[in-house]
């Protein structure tokens, strides 16, 4: 069940985690291919917390690109493959708010089969799994940098992911948290929107990049690297922003001091 909380964001009911139960990793395709270090950090973090992990190698994609483009029939085939691969697991953890939202919120819209929806409902974004299900907010990480956070829209508005990553970051030793001005505004990535309306997408990304610069941080992080692939791509072309590093939150939480 989803309620709207006091912060205006949805609040979900979470299951409890039975110690020793296997957790399946769902690693979104672009992370698997372009940012493997994020998936590795995710595995390391969960492993250190004593959680046995599986990575079902038949997994591919959550179907979001086709679904958001209107091609639901094509998305459904991929979603059903996802459901088949992940059916055996009670907890599926994914280091992306957007892909997790696709599984938990939009499977039902894309596929009338309740069995698919049920598998989707077991997908949790990494920081909500850590905070809401495991009850962990301090991972013993140390990261002596000024860090700001971009909050991805799907994760925040569909899954209510906002306070979780912030509380995790604030417990990282020597990390200076820098507030991001207009944190609630979209970065302009939007999946295929980024290439269907590139002018507007880039204009939105430039606003986001300027706010990141204004925050004074030298690292920008997020639970969603897809947003940062877009904003980071813009920042790399701007000399005054090149010093700002882009990192997924798992990479920061996996640091040791």
């Amino acid at each position: 069940m989803v309620r709207i909380g006091e912060n205006g964001l949805p609040q979900w009911d979470y299951p409890t985690y039975d110690r020793g139960e296997k957790v399946a990793l769902f690693i979104p395709c672009y992370i698997d291919q372009f940012y493997p270090q994020i998936a590795e950090a995710t595995a390391e973090i969960l492993h250190r917390l004593g959680i046995p992990l599986v990575f079902p190698e038949e997994q591919t994609c959550c179907g979001q690109p086709a679904f958001n483009s209107g091609y639901w029939e094509e998305a459904r085939r991929v979603i059903r493959h996802f459901a088949k691969v992940f059916r055996p697991y009670r907890y599926i953890v994914c280091p992306s708010g957007s892909c997790s939202a696709m599984c938990r919120v939009f499977f039902g819209q894309a596929d009338p089969d309740p069995a698919t929806t049920e598998v989707g409902s077991r997908v949790f974004e990494l920081t909500e799994f850590l905070v809401n299900i495991l009850g962990v907010t301090d991972l013993g990480a140390r990261f002596p940098h000024k860090v700001t956070m971009h909050s991805g829209c799907h994760g925040r508005r569909e899954l209510g992911i906002f306070d979780q990553p912030i509380s995790l970051l604030k417990n990282v030793k020597d990390l200076v948290y820098c507030e991001l001005p207009n944190i609630e505004e979209c970065c302009g990535f939007g999946g295929t929107f980024s290439v269907k309306m590139p002018g507007t997408s880039i204009a939105m990304g430039e606003t986001k990049a300027a706010n990141i610069l204004r925050s004074g941080a030298d690292v920008v992080t997020s639970v969603d690297i897809s947003c940062l692939m877009h904003v980071g791509g813009i920042m790399r072309r701007k000399p005054e922003m090149r010093h700002i590093r882009v990192m997924h939150i798992a990479e920061i939480l996996n640091t040791r001091g």
């Binding site: 205006g8 020793g20 209107g70 085939r77 590139p198 791509g233």
Partner: protein, 476 residues
């Protein structure tokens, strides 16, 4: 019919419709519009968040609207009966053309030469000014924003604040050019000029036209909210009043009105209540009061169960102000009466997917619209739903080539081997992209303002194959 024809012309000319444009053309909206919309959105959000039971208010309004829209057939009949009992003449119109025909009949019958008009979005759907002009009747917009837009020969860029794209100096120049007034950019002086020019017209007009914010079925009254006093004058000074009402405006009872007044003012203009709230109970003696109830495509929304909540809209404009795309492209890009997120989910139903099928794609699906909607319309989810409809019906976005590409993608994502093979090609493509002399299509769309991600030597799945074993047992 003239009205429909000119609507089509305006649609085709708009950025999101351009036939020659393969994707979505992207105009730059005015800076004034973007900044004002952002400011309003922040301000209104603060007002809303200051109310501890804001969420309960939204939910209650949503439920009342749900009842109203799902019992529209009964409520409309009751509304008509009670309006008639109060001496009002009720006319029904299935589309803009029929509504205009009713209007022209009224004009003829009462020998109307001049009309004053208060703000009404459904009148924009009908292109009333244009239709009246075609029979030699002069219709004057009396809402300040609408007046400016009419004076400039433009269309509104916002449903609540039609002249949001004009700065004070723009207005000063407009008054200098069209009214021969000395240039000023002072707000008070500008308002004075407008008042001076408008005031006389109310007394001279033969007929007043208004919209309606809420139709009250149980009392047969109509409610109109406004801030300038122009609506009050437009409906009470001339001997004939015609209220143009979309059929979705009816609510069951006057008892529920405060619920909506609370939400509308706060979400629309950031006020606790609008300056004026008129509740009109029938015609005053010696005056004639007409109500035209207009469908104009609204029943198409009813036919689609996944889209029905779009009819809950109370036209507050909060979703426009909140939308980062609207703020950048402005209202005209959406091509028709309703811009922004609500336009993207309403217009395809009202004018057809064959014309407006691109609109649902003009969004990053960020969900800001759904978050601020005071009646909780699930706009972001409907955008995706309408994308699905748009690619499966006759529309500018239906493309056999794109279907083929997504089919291929769907096949490629259907199994691990196919996935690895496809992704292998993607990796090679991204690596080679920097050596290409130019970047075609989607690749070019990405790289015109952004670098591509760097391709790492290995994937996670190959890493897991080598090291995954140690993660399968709990540590320690």
């Amino acid at each position: 019919m003239t009205a429909v024809h000119s609507q089509q012309v305006s649609l085709r000319g708009a950025a999101f419709w351009k036939a020659e444009n393969k994707g979505l053309a992207e105009p730059h909206g005015s800076k004034a519009l973007g900044e004002s919309a952002e400011r309003s959105s922040k301000h209104n959000r603060q007002i809303a968040m200051a109310i501890p039971y804001w969420e309960e208010w939204r939910e209650a309004a949503h439920q009342i609207k749900r009842y109203a829209i799902f019992h529209l057939d009964d409520l409309l009949v009751q509304f008509e009966k009670n309006l008639t009992a109060r001496g009002c003449i009720v006319l029904w119109a299935k589309d803009a053309e029929e509504a205009n025909q009713h209007l022209l009949n009224i004009v003829k019958k009462h020998n109307v030469k001049t009309v004053v008009k208060s703000k009404s979005m459904v009148s924009e759907e009908m292109e009333v000014n244009h239709v009246l002009a075609s029979v030699g009747v002069k219709a004057l917009e009396t809402d300040l924003g609408e007046y400016l837009v009419q004076l400039a020969g433009q269309r509104p860029t916002h449903i609540v604040t039609p002249a949001l794209h004009l700065s004070a100096s723009d207005v000063g120049r407009l008054f200098a050019e069209k009214l021969g007034e000395p240039f000023t950019s002072e707000h008070e002086k500008l308002t004075d000029i407008a008042r001076r020019h408008l005031r006389e017209e109310y007394l001279r007009a033969d007929m007043g036209i208004s919209g309606c914010n809420f139709g009250l079925a149980d009392t047969g009254a109509i409610c109109i909210v406004e801030n300038e006093g122009n609506a009050g004058l437009s409906i009470s000074a001339p001997p004939v009043h015609v209220a143009l009402i979309g059929i979705e405006k009816v609510i069951p009872s006057i008892d529920y009105l405060p619920q909506f007044l609370n939400l509308l003012a706060r979400s629309g203009t950031g006020q606790k209540l609008t300056t004026y709230t008129h509740i009109i109970h029938g015609a005053t003696p010696g005056r004639t009061f007409y109500v035209i109830l207009i469908d104009n495509g609204r029943t198409n929304v009813l036919k689609d169960p996944a889209a029905r909540t779009a009819l809950f809209c109370i036209r507050c404009g909060a979703c426009l102000n909140a939308c980062p795309v609207y703020r950048r492209v402005g209202g005209w890009a959406y091509g028709w009466v309703y811009p922004g997120p609500i336009g993207s989910i309403l217009t395809p139903h009202l004018v057809g997917f064959d014309q407006a099928g691109k609109l649902p794609f003009a969004s990053s699906l960020c969900g800001a619209c759904g978050e601020v909607c005071p009646v909780k319309i699930d706009i972001p989810h409907q955008l995706v739903h309408l994308r699905h409809r748009a690619v499966n019906t006759k529309s500018p976005v239906r493309s056999p080539l794109e279907r083929l590409i997504w089919n291929a993608w769907s096949w490629a994502m259907g199994g691990p081997l196919r996935y690895r093979l496809t992704m292998g090609f993607v990796r090679i493509g991204v690596r080679l992209a920097k050596f290409l002399p130019f970047h075609p299509a989607q690749l070019g769309a990405w790289t015109r303002g952004r670098d591509l991600p760097l391709v790492p030597p290995t994937t996670f799945r190959s890493w897991w194959r080598r090291y995954g074993k140690r993660f399968q047992q709990p540590s320690g």
